[in-house]
Symmetry: C2
Subunit: 527 residues, 2 copies
Amino acid sequence: MISWKNLDTLSAYGKLKALKGRVNLVEAMAGENGAKRVAQYAAPMAGGLQFNYAARPVDDEVLDALAALADEAELTDKFAALYNGEVINTGEKRLVLHQLTRGQLGDDVVADGVNKRDFYVSQQMKAAAFARKVHAGEIANAKGEKFTTVVQIGIGGSDLGPRAMYLALEQWARQNGAFRMEAKFISNVDPDDAAAVLKSIDVSRALFVLVSKSGTTLETLTNESFVKDALKNAGLDPSKHMVAVTSETSPLAQSSDYLAAFFMDDYIGGRYSSTSCVGGVVLSLAFGPEVFERFLNGAHEADVTAKNPDLLKNPAMLDALIGVYERNVLGWPATAVLPYSQALSRFPAHLQQLDMESNGKSVNRFGEGISYVTGPVIFGEPGTNGQHSFYQLLHQGTDIVPLQFVGFKKNQAGMDVVIQGSTSQQKLCANVAAQIMAFACGKKDDNPNKAFAGGRPSSIIVGEQLTPEALGALLAHFENKVMFQGFCWNVNSFDQEGVQLGKVLAKRVLAHDTDGALKAYSDLLGI
Amino acid sequence: MISWKNLDTLSAYGKLKALKGRVNLVEAMAGENGAKRVAQYAAPMAGGLQFNYAARPVDDEVLDALAALADEAELTDKFAALYNGEVINTGEKRLVLHQLTRGQLGDDVVADGVNKRDFYVSQQMKAAAFARKVHAGEIANAKGEKFTTVVQIGIGGSDLGPRAMYLALEQWARQNGAFRMEAKFISNVDPDDAAAVLKSIDVSRALFVLVSKSGTTLETLTNESFVKDALKNAGLDPSKHMVAVTSETSPLAQSSDYLAAFFMDDYIGGRYSSTSCVGGVVLSLAFGPEVFERFLNGAHEADVTAKNPDLLKNPAMLDALIGVYERNVLGWPATAVLPYSQALSRFPAHLQQLDMESNGKSVNRFGEGISYVTGPVIFGEPGTNGQHSFYQLLHQGTDIVPLQFVGFKKNQAGMDVVIQGSTSQQKLCANVAAQIMAFACGKKDDNPNKAFAGGRPSSIIVGEQLTPEALGALLAHFENKVMFQGFCWNVNSFDQEGVQLGKVLAKRVLAHDTDGALKAYSDLLGI
């Protein structure tokens, strides 16, 4: 029987707090001891990746304390309960099954009378078959011309994850003969978003993927209408240009307004849906079903790794626990995600949702107030761009921000240039290595303005190349990290009640049912 | 004679600290008093905008204390010293003249024997004349075909600001007959960045703008080579496809490798250079010189407003001081920038550099350590997208994050759709009004998981439409806000020594001059 306890009631947490400030990174990372740490504090990940945490503020004693915390918090058992089908999302009384979209981790999970793994596979296969027909021209526009562009209409989890994954693999696919269709994304209710996308494409050759689990998301339905108007104005039949990704019970599921419908369910949260058909339809259309399957394989392999009860062999759990130590013991309120890969340009925005929406909570899973901090602010941009932007504060600001680097030895597009004796890719990699050390060890200088205090922690996830498998593994690593942190904090990482109040008030504004300051703001904005 | 003092030595700061927690936003914003605050706590801005700070944690007494702090910190005099040409950037012993790129605020500033306003105007005019010739086809490719695309090659301030400004006006320009050429941007040393841009354009019709003040920025020179290779491979003469934006003393200035060179100087920091020819060349090419001039006019008008010694009539100073109160007295470590405008999708990334690189400092302008916090972490995404992403944490997380909303009554593209009785634009505006109130007042609920504590502060900048003037005013507002905050914290907001150490170590990695952990990381990354 699992016991769900608040972090501050665990004796291992008390012991961890006593280790505060134990590791001086400036000293620990200097000289040959630093090299030893880089060799020692490394864990293999799925997808051929490595998680290296040498430059995070841990040593063997802190790691022992984190392992004790992992045990006492029953992280492995809680994960098992999740993938074996317990109601982990207590607020909404739902199972949490996104891992099942990419493989079977434990028992068969039967819900609503259906084996859920079979259900997710059936939707993946349906999307694959559909994509193959589109690529073969069997599903085409009214003139019989092939569709050349796929446009995803969705917001939040129906947008950020799939968009980040598409961008992550676009150049890889072009280079590896896997590029089938360009993808575009419409998300914002701001009509300028849809207008800009529609102006940039040939709508007669475009296939639209409408994504809304409930079938009632205001932004998405509004943008659907916007797109339908554009299709009609171009003399086209919208129902021949649009598919739906939704739940079987949604109003979109049986509609004749769509070429096809693909299904997810309530057991997959939006921010965890990239490996469901929310990501599967658009990615299978863009890169082919085989690439999407490789992406799923990488994610599944990472899920299997996350089952390992040995903390040192479980990078997601390690990353999670070190993060809890940094957040709750060392008191650092933000974390930056810094991929040294242009392909991952929107990966930080996806993680921002994944993490902040999952763990930005002030009550535990029983709805009781808690007296410790939970999820940090997450932000980031790709390197080296960030170096020329906000790294100044990271190096010399008054707050310490833990950093999560990602880097690959090889680039994707296969084009490069040698300048001053090195390729661009080598410069990129040299910069991330240099940054880790600059942050950790700093530099003394007689001019305090040119001095670097150091002691600024980071870890890096390193791989050969950003392939579909590596991307899947990277995504699942962070999903599982967030899950383990939620277990530590004893929050429900799978609901998002914090988004409701704004929706309710926005409806009141549109109905002109306002008074006081809400009316004043509505007037100010001309509504 | 101005005196530069640390914030914690000012008696007004001590008085401000005594007002901590004085304003309960949940109460203050409720009922008719809330409406009164919306009317009262508003200041007109340049460009037809309004700064409304009703939902920030101030009242008349706090504002009085802030006004006293502004006086004691001599903010108006310090700004005057800056625009009259004193050496404000003490670390690098430089003047700070970006305001002079858009108008004359005070005395003539003569440096290096040149009237600097005349110099900046001459470069603006040179860029305007060049753009007109390109638009007219007088400057064309070898076949005499017009250039259709402009590609900016630059990083940091040579990328984020101009890119954000381009995206901000693209739809407006298309709608208003001002769209001349599409612009693209190459920044990252990751070769996949340049590869992706080059694959997306017809290089034979592309004009490249190489931007590097020093002429030695590694990323930019590397990407220049990358582009030159691509041009040569296409049988084209790179010198007929490329212009330079640089300083007169840089190696690029007199090179025959470029069609033309446009000049900035050491008195304009990269992150403050959007209104110099760093932004001027690409924006004049994209939208015509007249639009760029309108953008400058908006910025200049905001600069003039920032001269006003009356705090309540100086939105940039107000925003700055409320921010100092939130950061130093109330202790909030991050700020989110949330434009309800898809056109401003990269504006938060620009402000992230502007703010964090300017004020992420731990020593004062004399190089002495300080004992209070300075610049916060800045992050953000456009609304309503963010609502479906990280707003959960903003509403119900354990930390309070002050919010800076931006909104416009009208969209840019002139396309819209009515669903459920309202347009998309009305829905967009209704959402921002609703969010402000949800954050401020929260909502009680018997289920604590559905309760909102409120007390989460925000301000909003509102305008009719995001025009060139409004954009210029918005940009200058934040530049001036950051400047005033730097004055309060007594830091030098115009250098960035924190970027140097990484550069030095990266060179060592590329030269294989490493040992210890730096060598270990280099090996890990395959260098």
